[in-house]
Subunit: 159 residues, 2 copies
Amino acid sequence: MTDSNPNASLTAPSIPGDALPPVEQHAQQYATVRNAHETELIEDYVELIGDLLAHRGEARAADIANRMAVSQATVSKMIRRLNELELVTSKPYRSLFLTEAGQKMAETSRARHDIVLHFLRALGVRDATARIDAEGMEHHVSDETLAIMQRFTEQQQNN
Amino acid sequence: MTDSNPNASLTAPSIPGDALPPVEQHAQQYATVRNAHETELIEDYVELIGDLLAHRGEARAADIANRMAVSQATVSKMIRRLNELELVTSKPYRSLFLTEAGQKMAETSRARHDIVLHFLRALGVRDATARIDAEGMEHHVSDETLAIMQRFTEQQQNN
DNA sequence: TAATATTGTTAGCCAAGGCTAAACTGTTTG
DNA sequence: CAAACAGTTTAGCCTTGGCTAACAATATTA
């Protein structure tokens, strides 16, 4: 027990701007996050497949399973979903490829990811940490913030 | 082996530092994100309950449902889980309260959230956007990055 | 105080994203 | 060329976090 003060300002630095937001806005925040979660994994898969194709020339289920630290069965199931969403094409027992929509998504995700990663490094975060944080953050950064991050990174580099 | 890649450089800007990370590191990144996702929602609930208690004196299931834009049934089910995790105490049809562990989690989440939010504002992101982004980002920012964000915000303010 | 409105709970459904075990395919090699 | 191995898929299970509908408890008000 660190504080015997039952309820006054345990948490809040009580900056006036930090009251509860109006209900609608608050609800919007959570809804946006829930929404991001739905597409997040899909984007991660597509982005990784794009990277594997670019760097290795092929994307096999086993590679994905290894890189994501997930079972092959999980990957296989996910590939079925990506197929239904028409993001990848796959013949059984063969390497995957991205459809046009898939390539577009991969590029967007990759760009997003890179901006966040470079921003974190420019901020002074160590590389290993930056990579982990970027992986988690990338799906939750708005276009507005993304643009600001990019500008910041460029300014840092012109010093 | 199967080098069926006729037209390289479709996607990649081929910046040398941006090759695929080694498998173990890459796997670590994804695992960390998956892990964060497991605790994320729990933290959001606890944080919100803490905020409601601080600003309103009570936390009712209906308020949570409204603020999260989620059905009351969902909240009810979640509260059962929070109870099992010994993060909240609840008597049926009464306001919720946080256990000691719950309060600790609420404080930590709140602090984290505030640091990210203030950082984004200091960066120049508009308030409404900053709030949405902070809500999504907060669970994916390492302590290291958090410290850097805090320092950055303070420096901005001393201008 | 009885009727009504609000709030909370329960039951039962669904999809997503994990898993293991088992079956199947394709490749390598003795 | 057959056997062994590596890779892929399928089946079936589990947990989470949503939902709706029906019911129960409390609060409000006529």
